[in-house]
């Protein structure tokens, strides 16, 4: 099936199917969403107004049998950061969109009235339907209701109450193979979908399949690629302990942001660690391994049950557990799991919202360590859109401004995730220079700074950090275009067969002859395109800085500050 562009105009409620412009043909995933946003969205527009566009793009390999290829990229101008944004997640939607022949879905315009809508995408096009029943409902109710209302097993992309209320922390949720949710969490993309008055999108590819130009070569490359993934020890550890295995190692390194980024180690680290979580899951009959999308061979996700053995949450990630745990000083893993489930349901980015809670704790809104209080505020304030709920739901920066707090860990107004940039300096360069606000996944220097993957760079010295972040950000932008989960990077950094096999997969899918250099050039093109959008939106190098307190407040136990000058940070862009 030939790939097409599906375009929906929410101003006049029409949809079209278009040929793929030549300039977009070689792109997928993040490369495509950023190319389209840069080409079609006025950089200075209001992110919640009719001029912003919400773009969904499966990766270049999504919908094929290539291992780990089911990530969906979602792009727009971010209402949280004001920058260009791409956020990707698993679930089934990416593969189903690709099988429907949809290279990208572009949603533009804005309806004038109060009516809410849903979209249904098939190979024949997109229909726009009025939606009443699910308005005001959480994501789990949406998924359960649609399982009964719709035939077959369509992909579901949905927003919760946070998206409807256009909160800066609102995510977009994607149904996983078991009816759980995966989240395009960062940057408030759920608010953009809410501003377009779209509650959910259902995707049914009918009998559509992705065409492979050279099936034999594709099969062979996939065998090599999948073997490289499965054989890498990090993949195996991710399957056993999930991403939360990081709590103890980042704590040991003195880089686990604790008590709203005031110290680098958490006394309660053991009770929220991956090791404790692993044992708890086993005791309660949960699932140690779970795949967020079909075809994943790493299976870092899991199902975490409550003390009665009932499912409490799934996809219980390190970042969420760190944020609600160490950063808010909550030691009770059940409270953290409950908060995780609530945030998934309301449709909130767990990083942004939990860091916002940490700032709120510093402001005295609730005490540090009050896990039950966090759950109460999520249910009674944020989900209901009270004044306090909206302040928290608009992110860490919003809470800091509302309460006059100076220790507010954000870059370009997006909350800093689970690695303190004072003790792990490479990630500070990524936070500062990322085109999308603070985001560890943009250039995950933790691999090399802490985990000894892809070499070693001492986390506490300045040497080599800019180059490390640059190389990783370029590689990541390219990987984000393939539909691949970023966790393939561990194998790609260490196993010489992995990356060539990935390139062979793309070549076999499209009958191309790309080389490693082409992939690097693709990554550079994406970063430059994104940065040009931000520059046109009014951002300068002065925005590529960390908040003041990182330069002035030494972080225990190493008692270090972030000590890169602006000039040193700006050398990142020398490529």
């Amino acid at each position: 099936m030939a790939d097409k562009i599906y375009r929906v105009n929410m101003t006049d409620l029409t949809s079209t199917i278009e040929e793929v412009p030549a300039a977009w043909a070689g792109h997928g995933g993040r490369g495509l969403t950023s190319t389209i946003v840069a080409a079609e969205v006025e950089p200075t527009c209001h992110p919640l107004g009719p001029k912003n566009k919400l773009v969904f793009a499966p990766g270049l390999l999504s919908g094929t049998v290539a291992a780990n290829s089911g990530r969906l990229s979602i792009g727009a101008k971010s209402p949280l950061t004001g920058t260009i944004k791409e956020s990707n997640a698993g679930g089934t939607a990416s593969q189903l969109l690709a099988r429907a022949g949809c290279k990208a879905l572009i949603i533009e315009g804005q309806p004038k009235g109060d009516t809410w809508y849903s979209l249904a995408l098939t190979p024949d096009g997109v229909t726009i339907n009025e939606e009443k029943e699910l308005i005001g409902q959480g994501n789990f109710r949406v998924v359960e209701t649609l399982a009964k209302r719709l035939e077959g097993k369509p992909g579901i992309i949905t927003i919760g109450q946070a998206g409807e209320m256009r909160m800066g922390s609102a995510n977009i949720s994607i149904k996983d193979p078991d009816g759980g949710l995966r989240s395009s969490g960062r940057g408030g993309l759920g608010a953009v979908m809410g501003a377009k008055k779209i509650k959910f999108i259902a995707i049914d590819p009918k009998d559509g399949k992705v065409a492979i130009a050279n099936p034999e070569k594709f099969k062979e490359a996939n065998r090599t690629f999948a073997k490289a993934l499965v054989d890498h020890p990090v993949s195996q550890a991710l399957g056993q302990y999930g991403t939360n295995v990081l709590v103890n190692i980042i704590n040991e390194a003195g880089g686990l942001p604790t008590r709203n980024f005031s110290t680098g180690q958490f006394a309660g680290h053991e009770s929220i660690s991956g090791e404790t979580m692993h044992d708890t899951i086993l005791q309660r009959g949960g699932k140690i391994k779970h795949n967020c999308h079909p075809g994943c061979v790493i299976q870092c996700s899991q199902v975490f049950n409550d003390a009665k053995g009932e499912k409490l949450t799934s996809g219980f990630e390190y970042e969420s557990i760190w944020a609600m745990g160490a950063d808010c000083c909550v030691e009770n893993l059940d409270h953290i799991a409950e908060a995780d489930k609530l945030m998934d349901d309301i449709g909130l980015d767990t990083i942004e919202t939990s860091v916002a809670m940490g700032v709120a704790m510093e402001a005295g809104v609730l005490p540090f360590g009050d896990g039950a209080g966090v759950c109460r505020i999520l249910k009674e304030e944020v989900a209901k859109g009270t004044g306090l709920g909206r302040i928290i739901g608009n992110g860490a920066g919003s809470v800091g401004r509302a309460y006059g707090i100076t220790r507010v860990p954000v870059v370009k107004n997006q909350a800093i995730p689970a690695y303190d940039p004072r003790a792990i300096k490479g990630i500070g360069i990524t936070y500062a220079t990322s085109t999308q606000g603070a985001d560890h996944t943009m250039g995950y220097t933790i691999a090399t700074n802490i985990l000894n993957v892809g070499g070693k760079v001492d986390p506490l010295t300045k040497e080599g950090q800019v180059e490390l972040s640059r190389n990783l950000q370029i590689a990541t932008a390219a990987i984000d275009s393939t539909g691949m989960c970023l966790f393939i990077a561990f194998a790609a950094l260490d196993d010489a067969k992995c990356l060539p096999a990935l390139i062979d997969l793309i070549n076999a899918r499209f009958n191309l002859s790309l080389t490693g250099d082409d992939v690097v050039n693709l990554g550079k093109y994406i970063l430059r395109t994104e940065r040009a959008f931000n520059t046109a939106a009014g951002f300068t190098s002065a925005d590529d800085r960390l908040p003041e307190f990182f330069y002035t407040e030494p972080l225990p136990p190493h008692n270090v500050v972030f000590d890169f000058s602006g000039k040193e940070i700006d050398t990142f862009w020398n490529f």
Binding site: G242, N452, P557
Partner: protein, 77 residues
Amino acid sequence: MIKKRITVKLFAYFRDNRFKQEDREVGENITVGDIVDSLTIDREEVGVLMLNSRHTEFSTCLAENDVLAIFPVVGGG
């Protein structure tokens, strides 16, 4: 011989049939690698070694009150 008191911490599956944390007394010129070997942990399986929260190597000699953390190859993010 002068004995030095050190603390050894293990993580992830290295804890299986071993321990989370243990205080030990070791002799002169004992290295990080000696401790790993004494625990019958295959050096190939070691991903990260930290001594007093700083990365270290198998060849480093241990000093009084050192805290040694031994991790298998792990990742996340």
